[in-house]
């Protein structure tokens, strides 16, 4: 069509250009993102308003603001060509690495035993959350440059890039985020063409590493007891077992149809610790029952399926690797977080992306999804 080259007037571009990004938004991904964000705001409010008669709405306001900021990030990352991340990958990686160093310096502030936040007025910025995104960019850049041709030297450079933020985060310490970064790196390396023999070796080294970490002073005692709690569910002296017991009772309390919004007694009375963050799923499950919790899982399933699909139809390998990284981030967070709440995964402080209260994690998650949307929208460009 001639007209395609004739007019580049911006306002008409999407209408006339069949490859225009605006014509190729993914409505199903959109549905999952919007749906989960709304459920998240409701769940956080229900978990924090208290038993009454006067209700607290501070978390409601905050989380709504975070979703608003995240929506802005989503839009920006969708509009901006994801290949810009390819160009800026190292700058972004460098910036977050610098912030990770800064946060463990006296400039960062400590909360709940981890030096992980910058206090910015009423908000707290958690740079480790952004590290997820910057690692996805950096690994995506390298893997797309290597084009599947990975020797030992390249493998070590990949591992080194992945290891640097992990080590910095381990110092804070935030074991959950390290695990997420590990999942992201593993998935991207796998899809990015790491030879099978390296994968086998890495898996063995990883297993030995986990075993060694559990038996070494690297991990603090509470971290080990949290990790092993799910293996010894009858050890009632372990506080992590208590948390998971409470969480499972609250989930069971929901039954098939749930206790109803704001009617979950365990949620309302605050029996599940950290229920607005790590255990947000229990609030959903108690109030909305199996029907509601399964709907939420289905929305997450839809989300993961769309990301996976976009990874396959991406225009270039960088887009593909970025999507796989985002997929790993979501899938691991969901499985670990929901699995922990239901007692089939170890207790680690991982937020359930889009549902858990939290600024940095919500904004990062929405930005990552904006990136995925950008990959989808530009698959013909």
């Amino acid at each position: 069509m001639l007209s395609s080259s004739v007019s580049r007037h911006d306002s008409n571009r999407s209408r006339r250009d069949p490859t225009a990004p605006a014509r190729h938004l993914d409505p199903l991904l959109m549905l999952a993102v919007v749906g989960l964000s709304i459920v998240g705001i409701i769940a956080v409010y229900s978990a924090t308003r208290g038993p009454g008669p006067t209700y607290s709405s501070s978390y409601l306001i905050k989380q709504t603001a975070f979703v608003g900021i995240g929506a802005g990030a989503f839009v920006i990352f969708s509009i901006v060509d994801y290949r810009k991340l390819h160009d800026w990958a190292w700058a972004f990686y460098g910036l977050t690495t610098f912030m990770l160093v800064l946060v463990i310096s006296p400039l960062g502030s400590q909360s709940k035993g981890a030096q992980a936040w910058f206090a910015l007025g009423p908000f707290q910025l958690q740079p480790a959350e952004f590290a997820k995104l910057s690692l996805i960019g950096a690994l995506g850049f390298m893997l797309s440059e290597f084009r599947g041709d990975i020797d030992v030297r390249r493998m070590f450079s990949l591992l080194g890039v992945a290891a640097l933020p992990m080590v910095l985060i381990l110092i804070q310490p935030d074991l959950g985020l390290v695990l997420i970064l590990t999942a992201i790196a593993l998935a991207m390396l796998l899809v990015g063409g790491l030879p099978t023999k390296f994968i086998v070796v890495l898996t063995l080294v990883g297993l030995i590493g986990i075993f060694g970490a559990l038996n070494s002073p690297v991990l603090k005692e509470y971290q080990i007891s949290r990790l092993t709690a799910f293996a010894n569910p009858d050890d009632k002296t372990n506080p992590a077992v208590y948390n998971v017991d409470q969480s499972q009772q609250a989930i069971a309390n929901g039954g098939v149809t749930g206790e109803g919004l704001f009617n979950g007694p365990q949620t309302k009375l605050g029996f599940v610790p950290e229920q607005q963050t790590d255990f947000i799923f229990t609030a959903v499950a108690e109030q909305f029952g199996f029907v509601g919790a399964a709907m939420v899982l289905l929305l997450y399933g839809l989300l993961c399926y769309r990301i996976w699909r976009i990874a396959q139809i991406a225009k270039d390998s960088f887009g593909s690797y970025v999507c796989i990284g985002v997929l790993a981030m979501f899938a691991f967070s969901i499985f670990e977080n929901v699995g922990m709440a239901m007692g089939i995964m170890p207790v680690t402080g991982i937020p359930l992306l889009l549902l858990s209260a939290g600024g940095s994690s919500t904004v990062t998650a929405l930005a990552a999804l904006g990136l995925v949307m950008s990959v989808h929208a530009r698959r013909f460009q």
Binding site: P51, G148, A187, L190, V191, G192, G193, L194, P195, T196, D245, Q246, Q248, Q249, A250, I251, A252, N253, G254, G255, V256, P265, Q266, L269, G270, F271, P273, A285, G289, F290, A293, A294, L297, Y300, G301, C304, W308, A311, Q312, S317, S320, I324, L327, A328, A331, I334, F335, V338, G339, M342, G343, I344
Partner: protein, 652 residues
């Protein structure tokens, strides 16, 4: 490329993710559908606390239905500890509360509020009472100024009230907060209608003495149950169910409060009159303590049970202070907390001659007509031991009835001598119920003892220090025959033995309790009889006419003419109400004699058996006899007389 294609690897990632989601769905189904019922029960248990609400105890009534122990509502000021701890101006609040209490009739120090606030017998779920029995004004004031007194409330609690004051304190007993040890072992009674156990909590009230203790299971009310929903920090957020407490059953006693009051009053008056005077041999009468027992010989019902000194159960309401408790354990040197009528142990002296006479007659040693020449002195054994009548009186040639009427010791020394080498007296004593507890429905009863030669030997072998002699001499049997030295009995046992003689030989278990009634506030059949405590026969004494008649002939004349107890019954209309009885004067080393009188009446159709025992009070008739007579005045409906001034009394 040596590796699998990116597409294959992507599919692998997809498969892993699908697997993860499948696992999550499976677990969700398991928790919310399959395991939900079990886990939901846990969840409910987790967020509810059961708080028991104490029910009012049942009342205690006398035989005529007069209320001896009732309940009243007492207002207590309480503090909710959990909320109080979060307050900033705690000290200021305490001082304002103390001011309000002091202003409206309950002078209170801040320190006493703080002491009671810190009392660890209360758990945090229950408001802690910091001031009890406050006025209605305090309640109104605190209600009007509720905003100024956060966490403070006024609570209505049921406490005991005693319309007859201190009367029958030893019988009624008292209640108190359950101790941790008792809480562990307490066997709760059950609600007569619902069968629900009347379980105890750490703040429960429990009967600690007397009828309150023995009829605890009946008197205790069925606690109400309030299920309080709490949040994860154990703060109450609402009530999920409420079951009202139910008052306990009433217990009606055989006690006749009028007789009881008379017995207590006469006993106290007489003891106080005797106190500080000298008995005939010059020994000072301390008259420290005494007791009176009135039984119904036809059922074992206890009509009155007086003991002196005694306590006022009102002292125990809302807890007794250590200071007051210490006072009660030392009233002129003796404890007021001991009920001497059931746990005091005394040599019965001549009142025991009933038993010796029964033993001698029923074993054919003598008949009613067998006489013996009483020259005032009796000598036995080798080395010789000499025993004399009181005052060395010579009664001349007498048979058994006269020996009883005049209380000839020599006649009974002679019987004891003749029965030496046998256990006839001990066996008969046992048949009359001595040497073992009667089984009365009151705590802390004593058994007394009647030694046999074997007992004496065993005691010596076991405690050579205390019992220097292990051999049973004829002298021991001689002493036993007149109720001295080798025998102690409780006043209750003594009264029961005379009650058994009165009714022809049947031994009943004495019962203070008569029947259990429904609470007057009961929904069904208020005041109705739930159960009657039936008389229990625990033994019989064989009393054929040739045994009973000579004894009766002797005892019938004790209160008349030349009888040893006659002085106490001057002016008492024995035509209308003949009293059959026996005086007793038991010697105690270094102290004035124990004065005893055991009896029953009216003679032909006995309705009451009355015994009195008074420590360090002198001869039987002048102390115990007179007190018994005063009791009979009420029982027979005769003119009431006052205690006579102490005098050097008649012979025993």
């Amino acid at each position: 490329m040596e590796t699998a294609s990116p597409r294959t690897r992507m599919s692998l990632v997809g498969v892993v993710v699908i697997g993860c989601f499948m696992a999550l769905f499976a677990r969700l189904w398991y928790l919310q559908v399959m395991e939900a019922p079990r886990l939901q029960v846990q969840a409910i248990a987790n967020r509810t606390r059961v708080v028991a609400i104490e029910a009012p105890r049942g009342r205690i009534l006398d035989v005529n239905g007069k209320v001896l122990v009732d309940n009243r509502t007492s207002l207590s000021v309480t503090i909710d500890r959990v909320a109080f701890r979060k307050l900033r101006d705690r000290d200021d609040l305490m001082s304002r509360l103390a001011d309000v209490l002091t202003r409206y009739g309950t002078p209170t120090k801040i320190s006493s509020l703080e002491k009671r606030y810190a009392d660890m017998q209360f758990d945090d779920l229950q408001p802690v009472p910091v001031a009890t029995d406050v006025s209605e004004e305090v309640q109104w004031y605190l209600a009007e100024h509720a905003d100024d007194f956060p966490t403070i409330a006024v609570e209505r609690r049921s406490t005991r009230v005693y319309p007859y004051g201190a009367a029958a304190g030893n019988v009624l007993g008292y209640v108190g907060r359950i101790t941790t040890e008792r809480l562990k072992v307490a066997q709760p009674g059950v609600d007569p209608d619902s069968g629900v156990a009347k379980t105890y909590q750490s703040n429960s009230t429990i009967g600690l003495a007397g009828v309150e203790s023995t009829y605890e299971k009946e008197l205790r009310g069925t606690p109400g149950v309030e299920m309080i929903e709490v949040d994860s920090k154990n703060r109450p957020v609402g009530t999920s169910s409420y079951q009202a407490p139910k008052a306990g059953s009433d217990v009606q006693l055989h006690i006749d409060i009028d007789v009881q009051v008379r017995a207590e009053q006469s006993l106290q008056d007489k003891l106080l009159r005797l106190r500080g005077t000298n008995q005939r041999d010059g020994t000072l009468r301390n008259a420290t303590a005494g007791s009176v027992v009135v039984l119904d010989p036809q059922s074992g019902g206890v009509v009155a049970l007086a003991t002196y000194p005694s306590y006022d159960p009102r002292d125990f309401v809302n807890g007794i202070s250590q200071e007051r408790y210490d006072q009660l354990t030392d009233v002129d040197g003796v404890s007021a907390l001991i009920d001497r009528s059931i746990s005091g142990q005394y040599a019965p002296g001549s009142t025991f001659k009933l038993v010796t006479a029964t033993a001698a007659l029923s074993n054919g040693l003598i008949t009613g007509g067998t006489s013996y020449n009483d020259q005032g002195v009796y000598t036995v054994g080798n080395p010789a031991q000499t025993f004399t009548n009181a005052g060395s009186t010579r009664n001349g040639t007498i048979s058994l009835p006269t020996a009883l009427t005049l209380s000839s010791d020599v006649y009974f020394y002679w019987l004891g001598d003749r029965m030496d080498g046998s256990k006839l007296i001990q066996d008969t004593a046992s048949a009359y119920g001595f040497d073992k507890r009667t089984g009365i429905d009151l705590p802390n009863e004593s058994a007394g003892y009647v030694l046999t030669p074997e007992d004496k030997k065993a005691l010596h072998a076991k405690y050579p220090e205390s019992y220097s002699e292990g051999t049973w001499y004829t002298g021991d049997n001689v002493q036993l025959a007149v109720g001295q030295n080798v025998i102690v009995v409780t006043p209750l046992q003594l009264a029961r033995a005379y009650a058994a003689f009165a009714n022809g030989g049947t031994l009943y278990t004495p019962h203070v309790g008569w029947r259990i009634l429904r609470s007057a506030n009961s929904d069904v059949n208020p005041g109705g009889v739930i159960s009657v405590i039936e008389p229990v026969v625990t033994g019989t004494v064989a009393l054929p006419a040739d045994v009973r008649d000579p004894i009766l002939a002797g005892l019938s004349r004790v209160t008349t003419g030349l009888g040893t107890g006659s002085s106490a019954f001057i002016g008492f209309n024995q035509q209308a109400f003949p009293v059959v009885g026996k005086t007793g004067t038991a010697q105690v080393d270094g102290k004035a004699d124990t004065s005893l009188f055991a009896s029953y009446g009216p003679g032909v159709t006995p309705r009451f058996a009355v015994a009195a025992v008074m420590e360090e009070s002198g001869f039987g008739a002048e102390a115990a006899g007179e007190v018994v007579r005063h009791v009979y005045e009420v029982l027979a409906g005769q003119t009431l007389t006052d205690a006579a001034p102490a005098s050097v009394g008649s012979t025993d």
